[in-house]
Amino acid sequence: MSTAPAASPPPAPSGTPPLSMKDRLRSLRGAWTSGRMHLPLREDHLFLLLAVIIGLYAGLAVVCFRIAIDWARLHFLGSTLAPSWPRVVLVPGVVGLVVAFLVIHFFPRVRGSGVNQTKAAMYIYDGYIPFNTVIGKFITCVLAIGSGQSLGPEDPALQMGAGMASALGRRLRLAREKLRLIAPVGAAAGLAAAFNAPISAVLFVIEEVIGKWSAGVLGAIVLAAVSSVVVERGFLGEEPLFRVPPYHLVHPAELLAYAALGVVGGFASILFVKLVVWARAHLKRLPRWTQYLQPAAAGLLIGVVGIWFPQVMGAGYLFIDQALHDQFTWQMLALLGAFKILSTSLSFTSGTPGGMFAPTLFIGAMVGGAVGGIEHHFFPWLTGSVGAYALVGMGVFFAGFLRAPFTSVFMILEVSGNYSIIVPVMVSNTIAYLLSRRFQATPLFDVLSRQDGMDLPSMEEQREETTLRVEDAMRPYAGPFLRDEDRVVDALRRAEDSAVDFLLLPGANGVWRGFRKEALQKLAQEGQADMLLGIAVTENTLPWVHPDQPLEVALREIGDWPLLPVVHRADLRKLEGVLSLANILEAYRVASPPRS
């Protein structure tokens, strides 16, 4: 990369009049150009630098976003945790009308899940997310969450990060491949700042948006996530989102109690998913004019719930923190969990912009705390604090509802900063995840994207895809086993006894050669019948594969060869089987389910 060097103005001699502003700017530009000449920026380096800049932007945006939400709440609902009932009932409804108007007329893309929109940008629109979406998401989410709709700021933060990254990438005219990847980088930065948890954000984006580990993009994602978290902590403080009390496993048998939590949390998450999917499908079918009223109606109903349970309004971090510190009875926790499921379903399915992460954690904490409270009531000697169950419950719901098992485990570790909780978290999360898979075949994000008419790649399906391997397609070698020490005439005789036309010859150092019968006949006719094969056949070195390698490797290697030797990993001269193009295609055909 090079730029034309600008002529630097000569330094002003002493005694001459001071430089004008224009001269100073010119001098600055000259210094910049000269510096850039010595520091050529390759595309990869630019991508990493961009990741840091995106992280900083996302972090700052999230700081402003969170402050704006809190300001909005203060103005809409007042400074008390339990506002007066007219406010609680009216504010979410009235603001819901405004939000609906803004969404329908100005920001139609801010509806729905930010995760899916980032995936759509990556897989459908070549990384394109209009900047208008970022602004729209900011404004509408501030209004919605600030007025008490039961939604969280993480998903919007993710989408805002992705949108800003996309805008910057477009302005910098990045290559298409990089532009596609820049949106997830921004998404990770936004989510990391919103969660104050960089590891979980990186994992979530890889697990749910990108779907694969790639060294190139991982570096950028990590840089962006770390930058955004540093900025966010700089402005909003070092405190974690939740202050987790000390935890220890009371008794190994307590794992059974956590397993029970996994079961309850798993079924609760299934109920939540089904409710969201069912309600969203029904509400989408209603006439278009109802979209003006749906957020308001949802807000009104949430307000009614909020008269008795104001905790369910908004993101609810404060109450998650209280649940983690045993500040609710188990009955209250159970009620809060149930009403939050209802409120969040109403808010989300009505098309109100906002995220599901915080509500998921809220419900998980409440359900977990309630289960822990009941267990503690019956088995006080066996179970630890209710707060520990609330913490594990958050992960359980994350695994069961959002179906991000790795993120769910690491998120709890990151949030708690306590390694000893990993065993209960793994037990509970795995159970919840498996139950959710068993009773809800398609993950929530995939169902939502299909409801919106998009067929985005399902990361869970990708993870579950069985990879065809060489051993699935290889066949036994039916030809004669020749050696370098065999004479050409002997080899020809044995070849003629066999039906195989293409013969294999293993050589030293795992070199395999292949040739047709005609080649042997030609050698015999040329008077080289008594020559050793190792000397006579020196060309046609074949590529080989191992049985455990993916079939794709064989497809790439086979080229025009009629056969590929499949050799043992520990003994490259040992033939395990052979593979032809027909075998490979047949294996793919058998493995592919017929399309309906």
Partner: protein, 395 residues
Amino acid sequence: MNPEDPESNVLADAAPGPRQASDRDAILLLSLFGLAILFTIAGVAARLFHAKERSLGQEWYARGQADLKVGKAQVAIKDFRNALAYSRDNALYRLHLALALTAANRTDEARAHLLNLWERQPGDGTVNLELARLAARQGKTADAVRYFHNAIFGVWPGNPDEARRDVRFELCDFLLAHGLKTEAQAILIELATDLPKDADLHVRVADLFLAATDYSHALKEYRAALDINNRSEPALAGAGEVAFHTGDYRTARRYLDRTVRLNPQNQGAAQLLETTNLILSIDPLMRGLSAWERASRVVRAYEQAATRLAACAGKRQEVLGGTEPDAEIQALSDRVSTLRPKMRERTLARDPDLLTQTTDLVFEVEEVAARKCGPASGLDLALLLLARQRGGAEP
């Protein structure tokens, strides 16, 4: 870009030309400029918002304190919760929330908040003291004692010596209320070692020693108080009471007499003084008495005991339904009647064995009567106290 670099060639289709690179530089510079603006906006917003949060927290805290002061604990709880919403790590707000919850009898919730504070500051004296009070309220004696001790050795703002002394006093009260006298004595001895020159504090410690039935230490502390202020009425009364309990009735009379003279309204001291005077007037075992005087006191005691026994026998018969007399009282009455012919000063003065036998009988009568017919008063009380003192029991 190096054209020989294979990696660069891979990206050849994306490689920017000089003009595009220049545009990129400009955009990068602009984006840095944008960052600076956004930093400023976020900084101002964060500063304003934190200030608002702080002021809201303080406002709700002040409201909570006011509500708690006038006994509106439930309202105060809401106020403190609101305050905490704006400053969730503020220990003062949380502590007051716990106090409000305790005041509203929501002890489990209060405990959760206090434990939350304790986890962050296990050495905080105030938190440990509140946890101790809560445990005491919930009847968890061992926990309460543990938290009291933590509070004693904890960190206190302001005047830590005074705070620790107050906790020790509170712990002693708690221990004595639960009958743990030995443990209380240990704390009191510790407490007494570094008391400032304050008569009231010495009296307070002495009172607690007295409650722990550690009379020698109690008397020492009362005397220390009197050394500071020899007209301290509680110290005089306390010293009199200790002397009374130890059977040193002469000393008791001296202190009690001064007390009553200092404050004639002090009914307790006056009553004790009266009993002391009665004891001193009838005690047949007092040193320094002439044989005649001793015999005379025994005769008076005998008459008093006989009257008390007769009254008690009648009362018991009433209680038992008037059919059968109480066997024990009957046996004593028989012994009293047997001795009656010998109850003359001259006889008793000449027969020390008879004198001792009569005295023993008198004491036995008073003990039995007190056990069977209720508390004694007047001279009977004096005799009973003497009987108990002689028997080794506490008067």
